[in-house]
């Protein structure tokens, strides 16, 4: 059985790892390479690393750091942040990264997705959609760490990304970021229904129950989380953690058994 993926998402800021709340006030949580080493030991399903400085500063991806991370990672790695060209994507894949994640550049120029997919293959191209719930209902995609509106609905943006050759969509709920009160299941279900490529949901997970709720609602999707895997306890002490294989198997089996049987 293909299992839903449980994916720590690490945010890089000033060479260190941070965890944000609603994309603000990043709290330092440690050194990226050290975190990867701990996640190796825990045999995590996959890892997402996003450089949250690159796009807003107009900087190119830090290939030195990406190379170091890729060498260290014993699990599949997605890297995102500052990728604006086919050549950058090709080089990053060449460093040993499995998937490149695009966001602002892909939304500004959707042809970038197809050009990169042609070069590295669709299976290695991820489009990340940072989404805010709108005051009068509905959703909108934002870029540049949530500061720039795109006027695009995530369902439309996800369909467009898939049509251009994205092999995975990551939908990230800005309002839920760091809140640890559960995923936006409505948003996840809308995007899941709109595309036929794998979907990964990010933003809001605060407990293993939240992961289970996502799998029960959306089936085999990726459940990504930042805070859940770097904080422990009510005072958010930094402690990298991840469920064991047995815990994950149990969680997944229980969650998927709650799904209505499909005909």
């Amino acid at each position: 059985m293909l299992r839903p993926r449980i994916i720590p998402c690490l945010l890089v800021h000033d060479q260190g790892l941070v965890k944000t709340v609603k994309f603000q006030e990043g709290k330092y949580v440690g050194d990226p390479l050290n975190a990867v080493k701990i996640f190796n030991e825990k045999e995590v399903d996959e890892l997402i690393v996003l450089d949250i400085d690159a796009t807003v500063k107009g900087a190119v991806p830090n290939e030195r750091l990406i190379g170091q991370l890729a060498v260290e990672c014993r699990m599949p790695l997605s890297y995102g942040g500052g990728i604006t060209s086919v050549e950058q994507a090709r080089r990053i894949i060449g460093l040993g990264v499995e998937k490149v994640a695009l966001s602002a550049a892909a939304l500004a120029d959707p042809s970038l997705v197809s050009r990169i997919a042609d070069e590295v293959g669709s299976q290695s191209v991820v489009v990340v959609l940072d989404v805010k719930k709108q005051p009068f209902g509905g959703y909108q995609v934002f870029t540049h760490n949530g500061t720039r509106a795109t006027k695009q609905h995530p369902v439309e943006a996800a369909r467009q990304a898939q049509a251009r050759g994205a092999g995975e969509i990551v939908v990230n709920a800005i309002d839920r970021d760091g809140a640890m009160k559960g995923y936006d299941l409505e948003l996840a279900a809308q995007v899941r229904a709109a595309v036929s490529v794998p979907l990964t949901v990010l933003g809001g997970a605060g407990s293993q129950d939240d992961l289970a709720e996502l799998f029960a609602a959306c089936g085999v999707v990726g459940a990504a989380a930042g805070s859940l895997f770097v904080f422990k306890g009510p005072f958010r002490a930094v402690l990298i953690n991840y469920p064991t294989q047995a815990q994950r198997d149990q969680l997944v089996a229980a969650a998927l058994s709650r799904r209505p049987t499909r005909g």
Binding site: M1, L2, R3, P4, R5, E43, D45, E46, A70, V71, R74, M75, P76, I93, L95, G96, E98, E119, V120, G121, S122, Q123, S124, G167, E168, V195, S196, V197, P198, L199, V220, G222, R262
Partner: protein
């Protein structure tokens, strides 16, 4: 000594790092001369079938690779590297290496897989053929990381080394003599992959 075929595709670093941790020597072959000396060969691969075949042809290593396989040198194709062992692929028009009888087909064209997300991405259970040397110690609870939209359709069941299920049962590992292919990524599959690659090195 493991020789990684470097024709510009695939995550060579992941293989070499893993083997270094196991104290197995690894070298990289970029030319037919370098490849000719190999005792164990790994052919990695990502991206589209035709692109991979084109790059391999351009590297000048194709004939040497086939010659090594024909004289019984253990060869392991990984992901698209496994698919390259077939005659050809529905994904492209270029001829494959033809080292294991079969053709690469799309999940999309099979009714059972149509409702499922593609690519097939993530950790799936793998059921090896009992006693298969590549899967020694992996008889129960084997799982590996997959990332692909096409699968190897073995012509002969005796070439199926392991099966996985995604909409349909497919050969996620195949072998014919000393030629092996795995559709999943052992280099990114934690202790399961480490064991499989160790098994290969010890063949």
């Amino acid at each position: 000594m493991i020789t990684l075929v470097d024709y510009g595709l695939g995550n060579l670093l992941a293989f070499s790092n893993l083997y270094r941790r196991q104290n197995v020597e690894v070298t990289v072959a970029k030319s037919a001369d370098e490849l000719a000396r190999a005792t164990h060969v790994i052919l990695p691969g990502v991206g589209s079938f035709d692109h991979a075949m084109e790059r391999l042809d351009a590297s000048g290593m194709r004939a040497t690779l086939v010659a090594l396989a024909n004289k019984g040198t253990p060869l392991l194709g990984v992901c698209v590297g496994m698919q390259m062992l077939a005659y050809g692929s529905d994904e492209g028009s270029r001829p494959g290496l033809g080292l294991i009888l079969g053709r690469v087909r799309a999940f999309k064209t099979t009714p059972a897989a149509q409702a499922l997300p593609l690519p097939h991405m993530g950790w799936n259970d793998v059921a090896p053929l009992p006693g298969h040397p590549l899967f020694a110690g992996l008889d129960t609870d084997a799982r590996f990381y997959f990332l692909h939209s096409y699968f190897f359709d073995c012509e002969r069941t005796e070439h199926v080394a392991a099966r996985a299920h995604y909409g349909l049962d497919f050969a996620c590992a195949a072998s014919a003599g000393s030629v092996f292919g795995v559709q999943f990524h052992p280099e990114k599959s934690h202790h399961w992959g480490e064991r499989l690659l160790k098994n290969f090195a010890e063949l």
